[in-house]
Symmetry: D2
Subunit: 350 residues, 4 copies
């Protein structure tokens, strides 16, 4: 097995990139997405506990597809690169971003350290102090469907959380159009377990997850303030959102069901027109009339969504589905990289 | 393999029972529950397409545990029995119950034909006419936590649906105590696929369900009017409930998350006291402080539930879990049989 | 939720038992099996890291079914009990059994410490020294289908491993009757992950097991010498067995496929007669003509098995299935307890 | 959602292809693989029961990625195309291939109709007559690792079965090098259920497959003669192979464990050298020292394999894994198309 894509296809000028935190699921997915592209070269992939191992040893699915040796993180080694992806547990990006800013083309952080507007909110929900609060206003929130123009040419991007991606995309058209009351919204999300990262917790073991469902962090999940902050910007008023995440026996994917009170009676057709129009030109949102299913988006960068009026309760019900590792993490990060560097937005993504 | 429980343990006077519709999942579960009891003898088990086959052939897990040959349904064959369980698809019980009433000790219907208060509602949600509307007021709704005294000695019992069991038990104490606004309630339920019965639909095949989530019948599931009817009786006022069922890749179990607006601010401790008190003496509801998980109730007749105040949204969040084939079907039917015949309520159940 | 079976049903003289290692899957399954029996009282349940917690807190499915507080192991506390079950990781039973022998009615060890004939084999396969080699000849190998008479009244029982139970039961009739060549046998087993116990290993996490299959310890699994030792006793000659265990995305169950060379041409009917005759009176082996499936034995103490002649290759193919936590562990331990104390062999088991 | 890859990327001369049988899993996978390639244009996709529906409606994961309307099969519509893929149930290709031969550039049949050497064998294992026996000697068996040179420029290719791909690749180096006795080989394969195609059989429903394992067609699976035919060509002598396929609760993938008697004692290192050398230049076989896992090959065209000497039994144990829909079907078909048309062999594949 000799064939390595990079060596055979690498014939034109390339983006030179780094993946910081390459041994986890998001890091592995980034490498999987980047590997076949002759226009990108992964120069550095770090994973401090695995330094010295080949990438194919740590991620067997990448064996023969990407020839790389993992290294310990060293800011010197990434200086001058075009794009640095950070796929570390929350709390770590804020320690390394300050040293990288201005020394690399663009930083895209897949974690939660740069997403919230202030340190107080961070400390309340992430349960630790923020060590670089000066960064909190600086990063562009990397949801292309909301901030496409600001992402082009950005130097620092906070890649959205997986749950916020699915919840915000489900609500964006309705909130923007004033169709729903932004108070009292209910969002229940079902997540595949890869969302929790590689885990050695007994409660994430197969025997504890299979044939099981488990809600967690009811009312205080760290993604809740991320969603409300973004939705409040869109709504121009305060938003209350009762968000309950659940773990289900699925490896990949987030399924979100949102219920919100309609601001005024509206027909099913009108709702659909608003959503369809809103997402008409979006390359990665498929708004349709069928109830979306996780399977249609797994291993893709798509968000499928559909909206239903429940006339007997006056509620709008919206379902959205994404792959938490793609549109909810690595795929969206690549989509952001494409925007930053003026590449076709769907390059490498499907 | 000679050993059959019934023959070795059958030493005292017994209840003589029939299971109509014994080849499905609920029918099989009924037989599994009834098999080891020396106090019950299954005289008749019917399944028209499988008539003539042994029960161990149709349900291999019952081989060697129950010696029975399936027969076609014949009203004569069940006359005089103490208890007849009907585990047929909706639309079939209403055709056979009229001929059995008065000729057997008690009829317990596990389907939906006897649960709703009138034929119009049945036709709207079940999408077919009701052929025995005179039965609709006659059956006792067999939720022991609500109707225990009426169940004792009843002749005709409508065993609750699986979703209604989980949703009603989640809301009962709060509605009874007036803690929540009965309008605008949201209930999202996740169901194992055995709830759909033995299915030859492509969309129920493993390859279509595994690694997938699929919402269905948004806002118009046939269990919605069953829930609202019961909850309105409890509330003494009209109830609106936005109910969305979802299929998840689990064989058994229903996980329900309910969000309702608190009628007035209330502490977490007060909520818990109301629920704990309400369920203190219930043999099959375990109210606790931990977030319930499906696994704890699978293969049991328990409903585990917990209630949480979300102060930032003013919502009450209640989680309840049951095994759809046990507390949601066959187990609750046995619980009802125990009550009807004055046996200890937990006989055969765990 | 007040109802506890033991208190309501405990009306006749009881066996007083202990479960050492009650927090794992086998320990929890033992307690689940023992809980509803009025003839057994669990006096002691130990789990050193969880001492002080209630059993319902550690095993939520037992909440309300068994009122027990876990304790640290103390040999004094179990002195005089009728039966002590040990469900500890291998290497621990050999440290506590010497102090208990003669002070309790019977010891049933579910681990591997007492199964092999000598310390050298133990050290080779378990990769640690045996600290109580004097016990190795003393324990009765607790496979009722092989040693029923020796089990009755035994003081020390080595409960068989899960893989050996399934492989030995698949081969016993053929080897005893000399139908197959005992050399060159191939056995491939597929195990649910609960067989590995509660695990915090990343490789046992849901995301690593789901949609995956992984063979392990090819040719050197610690159960291999247990199987060959037993089969050699039956065959009266040396046995070679190529055993490969595989982890599959299932919580419970072992599926074993055995291929062995027929000693001489034999018809399908003859093979079936030999097996059917051999297992005719066994309460927990169901030999049949259909290909066995895991689902039929899950949560039961049954071993289902079937044997097929493959005339074009001259092989006998035998399939056997068990629930690794029941017939492969806790259920077989209860079966042994029943035999030791002269109770009906299937008491508590189904 | 307007973006369709084909329309945006289609800028150079293309291969014009058809997919006959586009509504099944293999057909959908073919379309998924072909969609992003600017060098291929799918001109025709047929599915007689779904004619008139858009491909995104039938395969929601393809919505927005491929703009195609399914049609009924019409030989006229595919005349002149470069490549016709047939992904129909066995028995159907033999009815349409005769009319297409000579009228299209190349036919690649993913079914079993063209793989066996004679009609008698076909009828024995496929249980129906072969209606075009004249084709049986004509097709090239499309396993690139065996027949790469014959595939280049071929007009008619029998794409290998999923099981044969995994079993043959596991044995090829050992048989070629004479390391194992070609008689008495044992192969046990575990298959994801997508291998059975879209199914409306109750026994393929989620509730029947989940938490289950089921062996089937023991000793008479229709892929057995395909394997032995190919292996006999390699061995130059007769081969006997005891093959048992098993369904496991996995959607995609085949895991194969092969045990064969070593022809003579050989070291682990020697075995590895033979295999490593044999597969050194193969783009899609990764031979390694670690035990292969399904997860590493899912959604890829790789076969991972490893070989182990079990000295105590004199057996060689080989594990191989593939994705049944990719290397076991659609991916291998694309690999063959690439070879036929002189494209880089890994185009579109990863």
């Amino acid at each position: 097995m000799l064939h390595i894509y990079a060596s055979t296809m690498n014939t034109k000028p390339t983006l030179r990139v780094a993946v910081i935190g390459a041994s986890g699921y998001s890091g592995g997915e980034l490498l999987r997405l980047l590997a076949p592209d002759p226009g990108v070269r992964v120069e550095v992939a770090t994973a401090h506990a695995q330094a010295g191992r080949s990438i194919g040893d740590v991620h067997p699915f990448l064996a023969g597809r990407l020839a790389l040796t993992l290294t310990a993180f060293d800011p010197k080694a990434v200086e001058g690169l075009d794009c640095v992806f950070i796929a570390l547990p929350s709390g770590e990006a804020m320690r390394i971003v300050p040293a990288l800013l201005g020394k690399v083309g663009c930083i895209i952080d897949l974690g939660g350290d740069l997403r919230l507007p202030n340190a107080a909110l961070y400390e309340q929900y992430y349960r630790k102090p923020h060590t670089a609060p000066q960064l909190l206003g600086e990063a562009v929130y990397g949801l292309p469907e909301l901030n496409r123009e600001r992402i082009r040419g950005a130097k620092l991007i906070a890649n959205p959380g997986c749950y916020p991606t699915s919840v915000i995309l489900a609500l964006l058209p309705a909130i923007k159009a004033g169709l729903v009351n932004p108070r009292g919204i209910v969002a229940n999300a079902l997540s595949g377990v890869s969302g929790a990262g590689k885990s050695s917790a007994v409660e994430m073991s197969f025997a504890e997850i299979n044939e099981n469902v488990r809600a967690y962090r009811i009312g205080d999940h760290q993604h809740t303030p991320e969603m409300t902050t973004v939705l409040e910007q869109v709504a121009g008023m305060s938003v209350t959102l009762s968000f309950v995440p659940h773990l289900i026996p699925v490896t990949r994917g987030i399924h979100t069901t949102v219920q919100a009170d309609l601001a005024a009676p509206v027909s099913q057709a009108d709702i659909r027109n608003v959503y369809a129009e809103h997402y008409l030109k979006e390359p990665f949102v498929r708004f349709g009339t069928r109830i979306p299913e996780l399977r249609a988006v797994q291993h893709t960068n798509f968000c499928d969504c559909a909206a239903f009026v429940d006339p007997s309760t006056g509620k709008l019900v919206v379902i959205s589905v994404i792959d938490n590792l793609v549109k909810g993490a690595a795929g969206q990060a690549v989509q952001n990289m494409n925007l930053v560097f003026g590449r076709p937005e769907h390059t490498l993504l499907s």
